[in-house]
C-alpha cells in the first residue's frame, strides 16, 4: 500500500526536531569501519603468525591507497588513473628524504648531490614525500579539471604514463629503471599502518561529509545543476584531486619503507588494477565501499593465490589465475551491480538495524554476504 499522498502546502505539517548531527544514520560509519578494522588487526596480532601479519600490513597499505582513491574518484565520479603515479612519487621521495646520505651515495651513485644531502627523520620523510606528490598534483592538475567523462579518464591515463616514464627514467632521482634499494631495516611497522589507516578512514569520511565533499558529489551527479547552485566545479575538483594525491603519496611512502626496494613499475598498471578492482567491487561512491572492497578483494586474492600455488605444485601451471578471476569479478560487478557490494551506501547503525530487522542476520551479516560472492 502506498502511503497517503501529502498535499503541497506552504505551512509546516511535520513538526519534528531536526538535528544536523545524525549519528545512527551517518556518523556511525567511521566508528563501524574502525572497529571492524581494529578487531581484525588485534586478532591477527594475537595470532602472532609473521606471514599473516605481513599480509595484514601490506593490505593495510592498499586500504589506505583505496581510501584516498575513493576520496577523489568516488566523490567526483572521474576515473583517476594517475592516482597510483602519485603513490610512486611519494614512495621515491620519502625514501630519498629518510635514507642516510652515506647509504644513498652508495646505493644510488647517480643521484643529484643536493638530494643525497637531504635527510629527515622517518615520519617527517613520509610527510615530505606526500607533500612532493601533492605539489606535483597541484602544479599540473588545474587544466585537467574541466575535463569529464571519457575525456577526463583518458587524460588521467596519459598523465599516469607520463609520471611512470619520468619515474622510470630519471636516474638522478629514482635510480632510473634499476631497482631503488632503501637498505636498513623495515620502518613501516604493523602499529604505524594501523594508526594511519584509522586516521585516513576518519579523514576520508570527514571529507565526504564536508561542504567541499558535498559540493564535489553534487558535481558528480549533475554538473550543470551544481553550477547553477553556486558551485565552481573546477575548483572543488581541484582541491579533491590534490588532497587525494597527498594520501596516495603518504601510502606510497609507507609502501617503500615496507618493501624496501622499489621500481617505477611498482606504481603502474598492476597496482592501479589492484586499487581499482577493490574500489569498484566495494562500491566507489562510499567510504564503506572502499573498506569492504579492500577486505573482500584481499581475501579473494589470498585465497586464489593459495589455489594457484596448489595447482602449480600438482603440475598444473596456473600463474596469473588470481588476476583473471579478480578481473572477471570486476566485470561481473560492473554489469550486475555497478555500485558495488555496498551499492554506494554507507554502513550505518540504521543500515544494521534494517539488516537485522529484515533478514534476522547476525551483525556479521554483511561480511557473510560478501564471502558468499567470492
Amino acid at each position: 500500500m502506498k502511503t497517503k499522498k501529502n498535499t503541497i502546502s506552504a505551512t509546516p505539517n511535520v513538526t519534528g526536531s531536526f538535528s544536523s548531527f545524525d549519528f545512527a544514520g551517518k556518523w556511525s560509519t567511521p566508528l563501524f569501519l574502525i572497529v571492524i578494522y581494529v578487531v581484525i588487526g588485534f586478532f591477527i596480532w594475537w595470532l602472532n603468525i609473521p606471514f599473516i601479519e605481513d599480509i595484514f600490513t601490506s593490505s593495510t597499505i592498499n586500504l589506505i591507497m583505496v581510501l584516498g582513491f575513493q576520496m577523489y574518484m568516488g566523490n567526483s565520479g572521474i576515473l583517476n588513473w594517475s592516482y597510483v603515479g602519485y603513490a610512486g612519487i611519494g614512495a621515491f621521495f620519502s625514501a630519498i628524504f629518510s635514507m642516510d646520505p652515506m647509504l644513498k651515495s652508495m646505493q644510488i651513485p647517480t643521484m643529484y648531490p643536493f638530494l643525497v644531502k637531504l635527510h629527515l627523520p622517518f615520519i617527517l620523510a613520509l610527510f615530505a614525500g606526500a607533500l612532493i606528490a601533492t605539489l606535483v598534483a597541484a602544479l599540473i592538475a588545474w587544466p585537467l579539471m574541466r575535463l569529464s567523462d571519457s575525456v577526463g579518464a583518458i587524460t588521467q591515463f596519459a598523465l599516469l604514463i607520463v609520471i611512470n616514464v619520468v619515474l622510470s627514467q630519471w636516474s638522478q632521482v629514482t635510480n632510473g629503471p634499476r631497482t631503488f634499494t632503501l637498505g636498513g631495516s623495515r620502518k613501516t611497522t604493523y602499529e604505524l599502518v594501523m594508526a594511519v589507516a584509522v586516521l585516513v578512514i576518519i579523514a576520508v569520511f570527514m571529507f565526504k561529509e564536508s561542504s567541499l565533499g558535498l559540493k564535489l558529489r553534487a558535481t558528480r551527479d549533475d554538473r550543470y545543476a551544481a553550477r547553477s547552485s553556486g558551485i565552481n566545479f573546477i575548483a572543488v575538483r581541484y582541491v579533491g584531486y590534490v588532497a587525494s594525491a597527498f594520501i596516495a603519496g603518504f601510502a606510497g611512502g609507507l609502501y617503500s619503507h615496507y618493501i624496501l626496494s622499489i621500481t617505477a613499475a611498482s606504481f603502474y598498471l598492476s597496482q592501479l588494477f589492484v586499487v581499482l578492482s577493490m574500489l569498484v567491487i566495494g562500491g566507489s561512491m562510499s567510504v564503506s565501499g572502499a573498506f569492504f572492497g579492500t577486505l573482500v578483494v584481499t581475501l579473494a586474492r589470498q585465497g586464489l593465490s593459495q589455489v594457484e600455488l596448489g595447482l602449480t605444485r600438482s603440475g598444473f601451471e596456473a600463474y596469473g589465475m588470481t588476476e583473471i578471476v579478480v578481473a572477471i569479478l570486476m566485470i561481473i560487478f560492473l554489469i550486475w551491480r555497478p555500485n558495488g557490494l555496498t551499492g554506494g551506501r554507507e554502513l550505518t547503525l540504521n543500515s544494521f538495524k534494517r539488516l537485522i530487522g529484515k533478514k534476522k542476520l547476525k551483525p556479521t551479516g554483511n561480511r557473510k554476504k560478501m564471502e558468499e560472492i567470492i
Binding site: 503541497i8 506552504a10 509546516p12 511535520v14 531536526f18 544536523s20 544514520g25 553534487a218 553556486g230 565552481n232
Partner: protein, 243 residues
C-alpha cells in the same frame, strides 16, 4: 517594510549561427512580484533564462541587481548575488539524499554546512517532504522531485527565482497544487519570481505581470488582462496552435 530589490534585464540578445534566438529583450522584476515569461515554442524563453543566470554567454546587453552589474559574473557566482533557477528537465543530484540536495543550494552560496542542514530540513518540511529527508532523491515521484528542486533554489535564500516550466510533467491536480504554493511564495519569502509556462489558464491567474516573446522579440508586456487582449499575442498563440 521589507527591503525591495530589483532585477533589471537590459536589452539582451543572443544569436545561434545567425539566427536571432533572443533579440533586444528587456524586463525588470521586483521582489514580491510574479512575472510570467510566455510565448510559443522556440520563442526564446529558456535562452533568456540561461543568459540572465549566466549559464549562456550573451552577445550584448546587461543584467543588474539593485544597480549592480552582474553581466560578466560567472554562472557559479550568480546565486551569491541572489538569483537562482530551476530547470524544465529536472536536474537533481540523484545519488544524494533529499536533504543533501537542498543543502547544496545553501552551501553553494556560502552558508555553513550545519546551518545549511537545518535550513534544508525546514524547507523540506515546509513543502511536505519532512518525512523523507534522508531518502535518496532518485526514489521520489516526479512531483516530489520538482519540490526538492524548488527547495534547493529557495535554500540559497535568493532574492529572485526563475522557474523554467515548473509544471512540466505534472498532472492537472499536481499543477494546481504547485501553483497554489507558488502564489504564496513571493510575499512569504520576499522574492521576485519569474515563471516560464505554457498553460495560459494558470499563468493568467498566477502572474502579476506578463512578458510575451515571439521569435526572440518582445511582442507585449503588462497586466495579464491587457496582454490577453493584445492582437499580436492572439495572433502568435493562434498561429502556433493552428500550425
Amino acid at each position: 517594510m521589507e527591503n525591495l530589490s530589483t532585477l533589471a534585464v537590459k536589452s539582451i540578445s543572443k544569436s545561434f549561427k545567425g539566427l536571432k534566438a533572443v533579440n533586444d529583450v528587456s524586463f525588470h522584476l521586483k521582489t514580491g512580484e510574479i512575472l510570467g515569461l510566455i510565448g510559443p515554442n522556440g520563442s526564446g524563453k529558456t535562452t533568456t533564462i540561461n543568459m540572465v543566470t549566466g549559464m549562456l554567454p550573451k552577445d550584448s546587453g546587461h543584467i543588474e541587481i539593485d544597480g549592480q552589474d552582474i553581466s560578466d559574473v560567472p554562472a557559479y557566482k550568480v546565486p551569491v548575488y541572489g538569483l537562482v533557477r530551476t530547470y524544465q528537465k529536472i536536474r537533481l543530484f540523484k545519488n544524494l539524499s533529499n536533504l543533501e540536495n537542498v543543502m547544496i543550494g545553501a552551501v553553494g552560496v556560502g552558508i555553513k554546512r550545519r546551518e545549511a542542514a537545518v535550513l534544508a530540513a525546514s524547507l523540506l518540511t515546509e513543502l511536505g517532504l519532512g518525512d523523507r529527508i534522508n531518502e535518496p532523491a532518485q526514489g521520489l515521484t516526479f512531483r516530489d522531485q520538482r519540490l526538492v528542486e524548488l527547495a534547493r533554489a529557495l535554500a540559497a535564500k535568493p532574492k529572485f527565482v526563475m522557474l523554467d516550466e515548473p509544471a512540466a510533467g505534472l498532472n492537472e491536480l499536481e499543477t494546481d497544487e504547485l501553483f497554489a504554493l507558488l502564489k504564496e511564495l513571493p510575499a512569504k519569502k520576499n522574492i521576485g519570481m519569474l515563471i516560464v509556462e505554457h498553460d495560459m489558464r494558470l499563468i493568467m491567474s498566477l502572474c502579476h505581470r506578463l512578458h510575451v516573446l515571439n521569435y526572440g522579440r518582445t511582442i507585449a508586456e503588462g497586466l495579464p488582462d491587457d496582454v490577453r487582449k493584445d492582437p499580436e499575442v492572439i495572433t502568435a498563440y493562434l498561429g502556433s496552435a493552428a500550425s
